[in-house]
Protein backbone atom coordinates (compact mmCIF):
# COMPACT_ATOMS: atom_id res chain seq x y z
CA UNK A 1 0.00 0.00 0.00
CA UNK A 2 1.50 3.28 -1.14
CA UNK A 3 -0.32 5.26 1.58
CA UNK A 4 -0.04 2.60 4.29
CA UNK A 5 -3.75 2.54 5.01
CA UNK A 6 -6.46 -0.11 4.61
CA UNK A 7 -9.92 0.91 3.36
CA UNK A 8 -12.78 0.54 5.85
CA UNK A 9 -14.90 -2.67 5.55
CA UNK A 10 -17.75 -0.69 3.95
CA UNK A 11 -15.37 0.95 1.49
CA UNK A 12 -14.09 -2.48 0.46
CA UNK A 13 -17.66 -3.66 -0.09
CA UNK A 14 -18.53 -0.56 -2.10
CA UNK A 15 -15.43 -1.00 -4.25
CA UNK A 16 -16.35 -4.65 -4.80
CA UNK A 17 -19.91 -3.66 -5.70
CA UNK A 18 -18.65 -1.11 -8.21
CA UNK A 19 -16.24 -3.66 -9.63
CA UNK A 20 -18.87 -6.37 -10.06
CA UNK A 21 -20.89 -3.88 -12.14
CA UNK A 22 -17.78 -3.26 -14.24
CA UNK A 23 -17.25 -6.99 -14.79
CA UNK A 24 -20.89 -7.43 -15.84
CA UNK A 25 -20.59 -4.54 -18.28
CA UNK A 26 -17.44 -5.91 -19.87
CA UNK A 27 -18.36 -9.59 -20.03
CA UNK A 28 -21.80 -8.97 -21.58
CA UNK A 29 -20.19 -6.92 -24.36
CA UNK A 30 -17.63 -9.56 -25.18
CA UNK A 31 -19.99 -12.48 -25.27
CA UNK A 32 -22.84 -10.90 -27.19
CA UNK A 33 -21.05 -8.46 -29.48
CA UNK A 34 -17.85 -10.37 -30.22
CA UNK A 35 -18.05 -14.07 -29.38
CA UNK A 36 -21.67 -14.99 -30.10
CA UNK A 37 -21.64 -14.03 -33.82
CA UNK A 38 -19.13 -16.86 -34.44
CA UNK A 39 -21.46 -19.41 -32.91
CA UNK A 40 -24.93 -18.04 -33.65
CA UNK A 41 -24.15 -17.10 -37.27
CA UNK A 42 -21.36 -19.64 -37.77
CA UNK A 43 -17.59 -19.15 -38.09
CA UNK A 44 -17.68 -18.97 -41.88
CA UNK A 45 -20.85 -16.89 -42.24
CA UNK A 46 -20.73 -13.78 -44.43
CA UNK A 47 -18.85 -11.12 -42.43
CA UNK A 48 -21.65 -8.66 -43.27
CA UNK A 49 -23.99 -10.81 -41.19
CA UNK A 50 -21.54 -12.22 -38.65
CA UNK A 51 -22.08 -9.46 -36.12
CA UNK A 52 -24.38 -8.50 -33.30
CA UNK A 53 -27.09 -7.38 -35.73
CA UNK A 54 -27.06 -10.82 -37.29
CA UNK A 55 -27.24 -12.38 -33.84
CA UNK A 56 -30.35 -10.49 -32.77
CA UNK A 57 -31.91 -11.14 -36.15
CA UNK A 58 -31.57 -14.83 -35.38
CA UNK A 59 -32.14 -15.11 -31.63
CA UNK A 60 -34.64 -12.27 -31.29
CA UNK A 61 -34.67 -8.50 -30.93
CA UNK A 62 -35.69 -8.82 -27.29
CA UNK A 63 -32.29 -10.38 -26.53
CA UNK A 64 -30.63 -7.24 -27.90
CA UNK A 65 -32.84 -5.17 -25.63
CA UNK A 66 -31.77 -7.22 -22.62
CA UNK A 67 -28.10 -6.82 -23.55
CA UNK A 68 -28.41 -3.05 -23.75
CA UNK A 69 -30.56 -2.83 -20.60
CA UNK A 70 -28.16 -4.78 -18.41
CA UNK A 71 -25.10 -2.98 -19.69
CA UNK A 72 -26.90 0.28 -18.99
CA UNK A 73 -27.68 -0.97 -15.46
CA UNK A 74 -24.02 -1.73 -14.89
CA UNK A 75 -23.07 1.71 -16.17
CA UNK A 76 -25.69 3.37 -13.95
CA UNK A 77 -24.38 1.59 -10.86
CA UNK A 78 -20.85 2.76 -11.63
CA UNK A 79 -22.06 6.32 -12.27
CA UNK A 80 -24.11 6.27 -9.05
CA UNK A 81 -21.02 5.51 -7.03
CA UNK A 82 -18.20 6.97 -9.08
CA UNK A 83 -19.91 10.14 -10.29
CA UNK A 84 -19.33 8.99 -13.87
CA UNK A 85 -19.04 5.53 -15.33
CA UNK A 86 -15.96 6.26 -17.46
CA UNK A 87 -12.85 7.40 -15.57
CA UNK A 88 -14.55 7.76 -12.17
CA UNK A 89 -12.61 9.74 -9.57
CA UNK A 90 -14.09 7.96 -6.56
CA UNK A 91 -11.60 5.56 -5.01
CA UNK A 92 -9.23 7.21 -2.55
CA UNK A 93 -6.38 5.89 -0.42
CA UNK A 94 -8.18 4.37 2.59
CA UNK A 95 -11.63 4.18 1.02
CA UNK A 96 -14.00 5.97 -1.32
CA UNK A 97 -15.34 9.51 -1.64
CA UNK A 98 -19.06 8.70 -1.62
CA UNK A 99 -21.25 6.06 0.00
CA UNK A 100 -24.66 4.64 -0.83
CA UNK A 101 -27.98 5.76 0.62
CA UNK A 102 -30.91 3.40 1.16
CA UNK A 103 -32.78 4.58 -1.91
CA UNK A 104 -29.74 3.95 -4.14
CA UNK A 105 -29.16 0.58 -2.49
CA UNK A 106 -32.71 -0.54 -3.27
CA UNK A 107 -32.31 0.60 -6.87
CA UNK A 108 -29.07 -1.39 -7.21
CA UNK A 109 -30.67 -4.43 -5.57
CA UNK A 110 -33.41 -4.48 -8.21
CA UNK A 111 -30.89 -4.08 -11.02
CA UNK A 112 -28.71 -6.83 -9.52
CA UNK A 113 -31.66 -9.26 -9.37
CA UNK A 114 -32.25 -8.59 -13.03
CA UNK A 115 -28.55 -9.16 -13.80
CA UNK A 116 -28.68 -12.58 -12.08
CA UNK A 117 -31.65 -13.54 -14.27
CA UNK A 118 -29.83 -12.28 -17.36
CA UNK A 119 -26.72 -14.32 -16.47
CA UNK A 120 -28.94 -17.41 -16.14
CA UNK A 121 -30.44 -16.65 -19.54
CA UNK A 122 -26.97 -16.19 -21.08
CA UNK A 123 -25.77 -19.56 -19.79
CA UNK A 124 -28.92 -21.18 -21.14
CA UNK A 125 -28.38 -19.49 -24.51
CA UNK A 126 -24.82 -20.86 -24.60
CA UNK A 127 -26.16 -24.31 -23.87
CA UNK A 128 -28.85 -24.10 -26.56
CA UNK A 129 -26.76 -22.52 -29.30
CA UNK A 130 -23.31 -23.98 -28.69
CA UNK A 131 -23.48 -27.11 -26.55
CA UNK A 132 -26.44 -28.62 -28.39
CA UNK A 133 -24.54 -28.28 -31.67
CA UNK A 134 -22.06 -31.15 -31.87
CA UNK A 135 -20.09 -29.32 -34.56
CA UNK A 136 -19.35 -26.46 -32.18
CA UNK A 137 -18.51 -28.80 -29.30
CA UNK A 138 -16.06 -30.60 -31.62
CA UNK A 139 -14.58 -27.25 -32.63
CA UNK A 140 -14.08 -26.24 -28.99
CA UNK A 141 -12.44 -29.58 -28.23
CA UNK A 142 -10.30 -29.67 -31.40
CA UNK A 143 -6.50 -29.60 -31.25
CA UNK A 144 -6.30 -26.41 -33.31
CA UNK A 145 -7.81 -24.50 -30.40
CA UNK A 146 -6.01 -26.29 -27.58
CA UNK A 147 -3.02 -24.81 -25.81
CA UNK A 148 -1.38 -26.65 -22.90
CA UNK A 149 0.08 -24.13 -20.44
CA UNK A 150 0.04 -23.11 -16.79
CA UNK A 151 -2.79 -20.90 -15.50
CA UNK A 152 -3.07 -17.84 -13.26
CA UNK A 153 -5.89 -16.30 -11.24
CA UNK A 154 -6.66 -14.43 -8.04
CA UNK A 155 -8.24 -16.59 -5.30
CA UNK A 156 -9.69 -15.98 -1.84
CA UNK A 157 -8.64 -17.93 1.25
CA UNK A 158 -10.79 -20.89 0.11
CA UNK A 159 -9.08 -20.93 -3.30
CA UNK A 160 -12.30 -19.68 -4.91
CA UNK A 161 -12.31 -17.27 -7.86
CA UNK A 162 -12.05 -13.70 -6.57
CA UNK A 163 -12.09 -10.73 -8.97
CA UNK A 164 -11.10 -8.07 -6.47
CA UNK A 165 -8.66 -9.29 -3.83
CA UNK A 166 -6.70 -12.25 -2.48
CA UNK A 167 -3.57 -14.08 -3.60
CA UNK A 168 -2.45 -14.92 -7.10
CA UNK A 169 -2.45 -18.67 -7.61
CA UNK A 170 -0.63 -20.37 -10.45
CA UNK A 171 -1.29 -24.00 -11.37
CA UNK A 172 0.61 -26.18 -13.84
CA UNK A 173 -0.63 -27.91 -16.99
CA UNK A 174 -2.09 -30.69 -14.84
CA UNK A 175 -3.83 -28.29 -12.47
CA UNK A 176 -1.39 -28.73 -9.57
CA UNK A 177 -0.59 -25.61 -7.57
CA UNK A 178 2.87 -24.30 -8.42
CA UNK A 179 2.79 -21.31 -6.08
CA UNK A 180 0.60 -18.65 -4.58
CA UNK A 181 1.80 -15.12 -3.90
CA UNK A 182 0.71 -11.85 -2.33
CA UNK A 183 0.78 -8.78 -4.60
CA UNK A 184 4.01 -7.44 -3.07
CA UNK A 185 5.82 -10.70 -3.97
CA UNK A 186 5.04 -10.65 -7.69
CA UNK A 187 8.61 -9.91 -8.81
CA UNK A 188 9.78 -13.15 -7.18
CA UNK A 189 7.47 -15.23 -9.35
CA UNK A 190 6.84 -13.44 -12.65
CA UNK A 191 9.39 -12.11 -15.15
CA UNK A 192 8.92 -10.48 -18.54
CA UNK A 193 10.64 -11.44 -21.80
CA UNK A 194 11.24 -8.83 -24.52
CA UNK A 195 11.23 -9.45 -28.27
CA UNK A 196 12.68 -6.76 -30.56
CA UNK A 197 9.60 -6.60 -32.80
CA UNK A 198 7.04 -5.68 -30.14
CA UNK A 199 6.60 -3.08 -27.41
CA UNK A 200 4.44 -5.58 -25.54
CA UNK A 201 6.36 -7.87 -23.20
CA UNK A 202 5.89 -11.59 -22.68
CA UNK A 203 5.44 -12.48 -18.99
CA UNK A 204 6.46 -15.98 -17.87
CA UNK A 205 7.10 -18.02 -14.72
CA UNK A 206 10.43 -16.73 -13.47
CA UNK A 207 11.80 -19.92 -11.91
CA UNK A 208 11.38 -21.80 -15.19
CA UNK A 209 13.19 -19.22 -17.29
CA UNK A 210 12.15 -18.06 -20.77
CA UNK A 211 12.17 -21.04 -23.16
CA UNK A 212 10.49 -19.49 -26.17
CA UNK A 213 6.94 -20.05 -27.34
CA UNK A 214 6.56 -23.61 -26.11
CA UNK A 215 3.59 -25.40 -24.60
CA UNK A 216 3.35 -28.59 -22.56
CA UNK A 217 5.01 -29.85 -19.36
CA UNK A 218 7.69 -27.53 -18.01
CA UNK A 219 6.66 -24.51 -20.08
CA UNK A 220 7.02 -21.13 -18.34
CA UNK A 221 4.03 -19.75 -20.27
CA UNK A 222 0.80 -19.20 -18.37
CA UNK A 223 -2.67 -18.05 -19.33
CA UNK A 224 -4.79 -15.56 -17.42
CA UNK A 225 -8.38 -14.23 -17.95
CA UNK A 226 -11.54 -16.42 -17.61
CA UNK A 227 -9.92 -19.70 -18.66
CA UNK A 228 -6.91 -19.06 -16.41
CA UNK A 229 -9.02 -17.99 -13.45
CA UNK A 230 -11.31 -21.02 -13.60
CA UNK A 231 -8.33 -23.36 -13.93
CA UNK A 232 -6.33 -21.70 -11.14
CA UNK A 233 -9.17 -21.81 -8.59
CA UNK A 234 -10.69 -24.82 -6.85
CA UNK A 235 -14.21 -23.49 -7.20
CA UNK A 236 -16.45 -20.48 -7.83
CA UNK A 237 -17.49 -18.28 -4.91
CA UNK A 238 -21.26 -18.27 -5.48
CA UNK A 239 -23.83 -21.09 -5.78
CA UNK A 240 -25.23 -20.59 -9.30
CA UNK A 241 -21.78 -19.94 -10.75
CA UNK A 242 -20.51 -23.07 -9.01
CA UNK A 243 -23.37 -25.10 -10.51
CA UNK A 244 -22.42 -23.83 -13.97
CA UNK A 245 -18.73 -24.46 -13.27
CA UNK A 246 -19.38 -28.12 -12.42
CA UNK A 247 -21.27 -28.61 -15.67
CA UNK A 248 -18.45 -26.87 -17.57
CA UNK A 249 -15.82 -29.20 -16.12
CA UNK A 250 -17.95 -32.28 -16.66
CA UNK A 251 -18.54 -31.40 -20.32
CA UNK A 252 -14.93 -30.48 -21.04
CA UNK A 253 -13.33 -33.45 -19.31
CA UNK A 254 -12.23 -31.94 -16.01
CA UNK A 255 -9.48 -29.53 -15.00
CA UNK A 256 -7.45 -27.92 -16.28
CA UNK A 257 -9.36 -26.94 -19.39
CA UNK A 258 -6.86 -26.30 -22.19
CA UNK A 259 -9.48 -25.46 -24.85
CA UNK A 260 -9.24 -21.76 -25.55
CA UNK A 261 -12.68 -21.44 -27.14
CA UNK A 262 -14.09 -22.64 -23.80
CA UNK A 263 -13.06 -19.20 -22.55
CA UNK A 264 -16.43 -17.92 -23.77
CA UNK A 265 -18.25 -20.37 -21.52
CA UNK A 266 -15.92 -19.53 -18.63
CA UNK A 267 -16.69 -15.84 -19.20
CA UNK A 268 -20.41 -16.48 -18.80
CA UNK A 269 -19.81 -18.44 -15.59
CA UNK A 270 -17.89 -15.41 -14.34
CA UNK A 271 -20.79 -13.18 -15.41
CA UNK A 272 -22.95 -15.33 -13.14
CA UNK A 273 -20.58 -14.95 -10.19
CA UNK A 274 -20.30 -11.18 -10.70
CA UNK A 275 -24.10 -10.83 -10.82
CA UNK A 276 -24.60 -12.98 -7.71
CA UNK A 277 -21.94 -11.03 -5.81
CA UNK A 278 -23.47 -7.73 -6.95
CA UNK A 279 -26.77 -8.85 -5.43
CA UNK A 280 -25.12 -10.14 -2.23
CA UNK A 281 -23.38 -6.81 -1.75
CA UNK A 282 -26.51 -4.80 -2.51
CA UNK A 283 -28.28 -6.74 0.26
CA UNK A 284 -25.44 -6.38 2.78
CA UNK A 285 -26.62 -4.28 5.75
CA UNK A 286 -23.18 -2.69 6.04
CA UNK A 287 -23.20 -1.34 2.47
CA UNK A 288 -25.03 1.87 3.45
CA UNK A 289 -22.76 2.65 6.41
CA UNK A 290 -21.16 6.08 6.27
CA UNK A 291 -17.84 4.69 7.51
CA UNK A 292 -16.30 4.88 4.05
CA UNK A 293 -12.77 6.13 4.55
CA UNK A 294 -9.73 5.83 6.78
CA UNK A 295 -7.81 9.05 6.27
CA UNK A 296 -4.16 8.24 5.58
CA UNK A 297 -1.73 9.86 7.99
CA UNK A 298 1.61 8.26 7.05
CA UNK A 299 4.11 9.28 4.40
CA UNK A 300 3.44 7.60 1.05
CA UNK A 301 6.13 5.28 -0.25
CA UNK A 302 5.60 2.12 -2.30
CA UNK A 303 2.80 -0.34 -3.01
CA UNK A 304 1.62 -3.16 -5.23
CA UNK A 305 -2.03 -3.81 -6.02
CA UNK A 306 -3.44 -6.79 -7.89
CA UNK A 307 -6.96 -7.53 -9.04
CA UNK A 308 -8.54 -9.49 -11.84
CA UNK A 309 -9.36 -7.31 -14.83
CA UNK A 310 -11.92 -8.92 -17.15
CA UNK A 311 -8.98 -9.68 -19.50
CA UNK A 312 -6.62 -11.10 -16.86
CA UNK A 313 -4.64 -10.52 -13.70
CA UNK A 314 -3.76 -6.84 -13.35
CA UNK A 315 -0.65 -5.82 -11.40
CA UNK A 316 0.12 -2.19 -10.57
CA UNK A 317 3.36 -1.38 -8.73
CA UNK A 318 4.07 2.24 -7.75
CA UNK A 319 6.83 4.00 -5.87
CA UNK A 320 6.26 7.60 -4.88
CA UNK A 321 8.08 10.51 -3.29
CA UNK A 322 6.98 11.83 0.11
CA UNK A 323 4.28 13.93 -1.59
CA UNK A 324 2.72 10.89 -3.23
CA UNK A 325 4.01 11.79 -6.70
CA UNK A 326 4.82 8.63 -8.66
CA UNK A 327 8.54 8.28 -9.37
CA UNK A 328 8.51 4.68 -10.59
CA UNK A 329 5.75 2.47 -11.99
CA UNK A 330 5.50 -1.03 -13.36
CA UNK A 331 2.30 -2.48 -14.74
CA UNK A 332 1.51 -5.97 -15.97
CA UNK A 333 -1.95 -5.55 -17.41
CA UNK A 334 -4.54 -8.21 -18.20
CA UNK A 335 -3.84 -8.77 -21.89
CA UNK A 336 -0.05 -8.67 -21.39
CA UNK A 337 -0.21 -11.91 -19.39
CA UNK A 338 -1.73 -13.56 -22.42
CA UNK A 339 0.66 -12.10 -24.98
CA UNK A 340 2.62 -15.32 -25.53
CA UNK A 341 -0.49 -17.56 -25.40
CA UNK A 342 -2.26 -15.33 -27.94
CA UNK A 343 0.73 -15.60 -30.29
CA UNK A 344 0.84 -19.37 -29.89
CA UNK A 345 -2.94 -19.81 -30.18
CA UNK A 346 -3.08 -17.86 -33.44
CA UNK A 347 -0.27 -20.00 -34.87
CA UNK A 348 -2.00 -23.23 -33.89
CA UNK A 349 -5.35 -22.12 -35.26
CA UNK A 350 -3.75 -20.97 -38.51
CA UNK A 351 -1.91 -24.28 -38.90
CA UNK A 352 -5.13 -26.19 -38.31
CA UNK A 353 -7.28 -24.31 -40.83
CA UNK A 354 -4.82 -23.42 -43.61
CA UNK A 355 -4.00 -26.50 -45.66
CA UNK A 356 -1.94 -26.86 -48.84
CA UNK A 357 -3.97 -26.13 -51.93
CA UNK A 358 -6.91 -24.83 -49.94
CA UNK A 359 -8.54 -21.54 -50.90
CA UNK A 360 -7.93 -18.86 -48.27
CA UNK A 361 -11.30 -17.26 -47.61
CA UNK A 362 -12.74 -14.75 -45.15
CA UNK A 363 -14.06 -17.79 -43.26
CA UNK A 364 -10.50 -19.04 -42.81
CA UNK A 365 -9.40 -15.60 -41.61
CA UNK A 366 -12.23 -15.64 -39.09
CA UNK A 367 -11.31 -19.12 -37.83
CA UNK A 368 -7.86 -17.73 -37.01
CA UNK A 369 -9.33 -14.58 -35.50
CA UNK A 370 -11.47 -16.74 -33.22
CA UNK A 371 -8.33 -17.88 -31.41
CA UNK A 372 -7.31 -14.25 -30.96
CA UNK A 373 -10.80 -13.11 -29.98
CA UNK A 374 -11.18 -15.71 -27.20
CA UNK A 375 -8.72 -13.69 -25.12
CA UNK A 376 -10.74 -10.47 -25.62
CA UNK A 377 -7.40 -8.72 -26.09
CA UNK A 378 -7.16 -5.06 -25.25
CA UNK A 379 -5.19 -3.99 -28.34
CA UNK A 380 -5.76 -1.01 -30.60
CA UNK A 381 -8.32 0.55 -28.34
CA UNK A 382 -6.29 3.51 -27.15
CA UNK A 383 -7.74 5.72 -29.86
CA UNK A 384 -11.24 6.03 -31.13
CA UNK A 385 -11.42 8.14 -34.27
CA UNK A 386 -14.29 7.76 -36.69
CA UNK A 387 -12.82 6.21 -39.85
CA UNK A 388 -9.80 5.11 -37.82
CA UNK A 389 -7.89 1.99 -38.75
CA UNK A 390 -8.03 -1.37 -37.01
CA UNK A 391 -4.89 -2.99 -38.37
CA UNK A 392 -5.85 -6.65 -38.19
CA UNK A 393 -4.39 -8.42 -41.20
CA UNK A 394 -3.39 -11.97 -42.05
CA UNK A 395 -0.37 -12.62 -44.27
CA UNK A 396 -0.38 -16.10 -45.82
CA UNK A 397 2.97 -17.46 -47.02
CA UNK A 398 3.40 -20.49 -49.24
CA UNK A 399 5.63 -23.48 -48.55
CA UNK A 400 8.59 -21.61 -50.12
CA UNK A 401 8.15 -18.72 -47.71
CA UNK A 402 6.78 -16.38 -50.36
CA UNK A 403 3.84 -14.11 -49.64
CA UNK A 404 0.78 -15.72 -51.17
CA UNK A 405 -2.12 -13.60 -49.94
CA UNK A 406 -3.01 -10.79 -47.53
CA UNK A 407 -6.42 -10.83 -45.91
CA UNK A 408 -7.96 -8.10 -43.79
CA UNK A 409 -11.38 -7.34 -42.39
CA UNK A 410 -11.97 -4.33 -44.70
Amino acid sequence: MVFGVQPTPTAVKLRRLFYMAHFIHSHIAHFYALASPDFVMGPDADPAERNILGVIGKVGLEVGGEVIKHRAYAQQIQAMLGGKATHPAWTLPGGVSKGLNEEERKEIEEMAKSCVEFAKFSLKLFEDVVLKNQGYVDLILSDGYKLVTNYMGLVNDKNQVDFYDGKVRVVDHEGKELFKYSPVEYVNYIAEHVEPYSYLKYPYIKERGWQGFVEGPGTPIYQAAPLGRLNAADSMATPLAQEAYEKYLETLGGKPVHHILATHWARLIELMQAAEQLLELAQDPEITSDDIINIPTGTPNEGVGILEAPRGTLTHHYKTDENGIVVKANLIVGTTNNNAPITMAIKKAAESVIKPGQEITQGVLNMVEMAFRAYDPCFSCATHAILGELPLKMYVYDSKGELYKVLSRD
Binding site: H25, A29, H30, A33, L34, N51, I52, L53, I56, L61, E62, V63, G64, G65, V67, I68, K69, R71, A72, A74, Q75, Q76, A79, M80, K84, A85, T86, H87, R311, F372, R373, D376, P377, C378, F379, S380, C381, A382, T383, H384, A385, I386, L387, G388, E389, L390, L392, R409, D410
Partner: protein
Protein backbone atom coordinates in the same frame (compact mmCIF):
# COMPACT_ATOMS: atom_id res chain seq x y z
CA UNK B 1 -28.56 9.52 -13.27
CA UNK B 2 -27.77 8.70 -16.85
CA UNK B 3 -31.39 8.15 -17.79
CA UNK B 4 -32.71 11.60 -16.86
CA UNK B 5 -31.15 14.06 -19.33
CA UNK B 6 -33.13 15.12 -22.40
CA UNK B 7 -30.11 16.17 -24.43
CA UNK B 8 -26.83 14.41 -23.88
CA UNK B 9 -23.50 15.45 -25.32
CA UNK B 10 -20.95 12.63 -25.54
CA UNK B 11 -17.36 13.82 -25.76
CA UNK B 12 -15.38 10.83 -27.07
CA UNK B 13 -11.68 10.15 -27.20
CA UNK B 14 -8.49 9.61 -25.28
CA UNK B 15 -6.67 12.67 -24.00
CA UNK B 16 -3.34 10.87 -23.87
CA UNK B 17 -3.43 10.01 -27.56
CA UNK B 18 -2.85 13.41 -29.17
CA UNK B 19 -5.69 14.70 -31.33
CA UNK B 20 -7.85 11.72 -30.38
CA UNK B 21 -8.78 13.74 -27.27
CA UNK B 22 -10.43 16.57 -29.20
CA UNK B 23 -13.95 15.37 -28.31
CA UNK B 24 -13.11 15.61 -24.62
CA UNK B 25 -11.55 19.05 -25.14
CA UNK B 26 -14.77 20.29 -26.79
CA UNK B 27 -16.69 18.92 -23.81
CA UNK B 28 -14.42 20.82 -21.40
CA UNK B 29 -15.10 24.03 -23.32
CA UNK B 30 -18.84 23.37 -23.16
CA UNK B 31 -18.56 22.97 -19.39
CA UNK B 32 -17.61 26.67 -19.23
CA UNK B 33 -20.86 27.67 -20.96
CA UNK B 34 -24.26 28.16 -19.39
CA UNK B 35 -26.33 25.43 -20.93
CA UNK B 36 -30.12 25.06 -20.91
CA UNK B 37 -31.67 22.76 -18.29
CA UNK B 38 -31.80 19.13 -19.34
CA UNK B 39 -28.48 19.20 -21.19
CA UNK B 40 -25.92 16.75 -19.81
CA UNK B 41 -22.25 16.56 -20.74
CA UNK B 42 -20.70 13.08 -20.61
CA UNK B 43 -17.03 12.19 -20.97
CA UNK B 44 -17.49 9.03 -22.99
CA UNK B 45 -13.98 7.64 -23.40
CA UNK B 46 -13.71 5.34 -26.41
CA UNK B 47 -17.04 3.53 -26.54
CA UNK B 48 -18.40 1.31 -29.26
CA UNK B 49 -21.23 -0.75 -27.84
CA UNK B 50 -20.91 1.43 -24.71
CA UNK B 51 -22.27 4.34 -26.71
CA UNK B 52 -25.73 2.84 -26.21
CA UNK B 53 -25.44 2.80 -22.41
CA UNK B 54 -24.58 6.46 -22.50
CA UNK B 55 -27.50 7.48 -24.71
CA UNK B 56 -30.07 5.10 -23.16
CA UNK B 57 -33.19 7.13 -22.36
CA UNK B 58 -31.96 10.49 -23.74
CA UNK B 59 -34.15 12.29 -26.32
CA UNK B 60 -31.36 13.89 -28.33
CA UNK B 61 -27.69 13.07 -28.48
CA UNK B 62 -24.65 14.78 -29.94
CA UNK B 63 -21.50 12.69 -30.35
CA UNK B 64 -18.31 14.76 -30.55
CA UNK B 65 -15.41 12.70 -31.82
CA UNK B 66 -12.14 12.76 -33.72
CA UNK B 67 -12.23 11.84 -37.41
CA UNK B 68 -9.24 10.21 -39.11
CA UNK B 69 -10.18 10.51 -42.77
CA UNK B 70 -6.96 12.01 -44.08
CA UNK B 71 -8.73 15.34 -44.75
CA UNK B 72 -7.41 18.75 -43.73
CA UNK B 73 -6.71 18.87 -39.99
CA UNK B 74 -9.19 20.95 -38.04
CA UNK B 75 -12.12 20.53 -40.42
CA UNK B 76 -15.41 20.35 -38.51
CA UNK B 77 -17.93 17.94 -39.99
CA UNK B 78 -21.59 17.44 -39.12
CA UNK B 79 -23.25 14.13 -39.80
CA UNK B 80 -26.76 13.05 -39.06
CA UNK B 81 -27.06 9.43 -38.03
CA UNK B 82 -28.08 8.27 -41.52
CA UNK B 83 -25.16 10.13 -43.05
CA UNK B 84 -22.45 8.37 -41.03
CA UNK B 85 -19.94 7.04 -43.56
CA UNK B 86 -20.06 3.33 -44.22
CA UNK B 87 -16.38 3.13 -43.44
CA UNK B 88 -17.27 3.52 -39.77
CA UNK B 89 -18.49 -0.06 -39.96
CA UNK B 90 -14.95 -0.94 -38.96
CA UNK B 91 -14.61 -1.77 -35.27
CA UNK B 92 -12.93 0.77 -33.01
CA UNK B 93 -10.98 -2.01 -31.34
CA UNK B 94 -10.75 -5.77 -31.29
CA UNK B 95 -12.89 -5.91 -28.22
CA UNK B 96 -15.61 -3.58 -29.32
CA UNK B 97 -17.89 -2.81 -32.27
CA UNK B 98 -18.19 0.27 -34.47
CA UNK B 99 -20.35 3.30 -33.70
CA UNK B 100 -22.45 2.63 -36.78
CA UNK B 101 -23.10 -1.00 -35.76
CA UNK B 102 -23.80 0.05 -32.19
CA UNK B 103 -26.40 2.60 -33.28
CA UNK B 104 -28.05 0.12 -35.65
CA UNK B 105 -28.11 -2.45 -32.83
CA UNK B 106 -29.76 0.04 -30.48
CA UNK B 107 -32.32 1.19 -33.05
CA UNK B 108 -33.38 -2.41 -33.64
CA UNK B 109 -33.29 -3.69 -30.07
CA UNK B 110 -34.49 -0.83 -27.89
CA UNK B 111 -36.12 1.70 -30.24
CA UNK B 112 -38.13 3.27 -27.43
CA UNK B 113 -35.02 3.99 -25.35
CA UNK B 114 -32.99 5.46 -28.22
CA UNK B 115 -32.81 9.20 -28.90
CA UNK B 116 -35.18 10.71 -31.49
CA UNK B 117 -32.19 12.30 -33.13
CA UNK B 118 -28.43 11.77 -33.08
CA UNK B 119 -25.95 14.21 -34.58
CA UNK B 120 -22.21 13.61 -34.87
CA UNK B 121 -19.83 16.54 -34.78
CA UNK B 122 -16.47 15.31 -36.05
CA UNK B 123 -13.14 17.10 -36.08
CA UNK B 124 -10.51 15.90 -38.55
CA UNK B 125 -7.28 15.09 -36.76
CA UNK B 126 -3.65 15.52 -37.68
CA UNK B 127 -1.85 13.11 -35.37
CA UNK B 128 -3.05 10.43 -32.99
CA UNK B 129 0.08 9.21 -31.28
CA UNK B 130 -0.18 7.33 -28.02
CA UNK B 131 1.29 8.80 -24.84
CA UNK B 132 1.01 12.35 -26.13
CA UNK B 133 -1.10 14.94 -24.37
CA UNK B 134 -2.30 18.02 -26.22
CA UNK B 135 -3.81 18.76 -29.61
CA UNK B 136 -1.97 19.86 -32.72
CA UNK B 137 -2.39 23.60 -33.57
CA UNK B 138 -4.90 23.13 -36.39
CA UNK B 139 -7.09 20.99 -34.16
CA UNK B 140 -6.85 23.47 -31.27
CA UNK B 141 -8.06 26.17 -33.65
CA UNK B 142 -11.04 24.01 -34.62
CA UNK B 143 -12.31 23.58 -31.06
CA UNK B 144 -14.32 26.87 -30.93
CA UNK B 145 -16.03 26.01 -34.22
CA UNK B 146 -16.89 22.54 -32.91
CA UNK B 147 -18.26 24.08 -29.69
CA UNK B 148 -20.42 26.45 -31.75
CA UNK B 149 -21.63 23.54 -33.89
CA UNK B 150 -22.75 21.73 -30.72
CA UNK B 151 -24.39 24.88 -29.33
CA UNK B 152 -26.29 25.34 -32.59
CA UNK B 153 -27.74 21.82 -32.29
CA UNK B 154 -28.70 22.43 -28.66
CA UNK B 155 -30.41 25.72 -29.55
CA UNK B 156 -32.25 24.07 -32.42
CA UNK B 157 -33.56 21.31 -30.16
CA UNK B 158 -34.47 23.64 -27.30
CA UNK B 159 -36.32 25.85 -29.82
CA UNK B 160 -38.17 22.77 -31.12
CA UNK B 161 -39.13 21.86 -27.56
CA UNK B 162 -40.61 25.32 -26.99
CA UNK B 163 -42.67 25.04 -30.17
CA UNK B 164 -43.90 21.52 -29.24
Amino acid sequence: MLAEAKIRILGCGNIIAGDDGVGVEVLHELQKRTLPAGVELVEAGAPGLGMLDLMYGARKVIIVDAVADGGPAGRVIRWREAELPKKTSRAVSVHDISIRDALAFGRKSVPAMMPDEIVVIGITVERMEKWHMGLSPAVVEAVPAAVEAVMKEIERWVGQDRRD
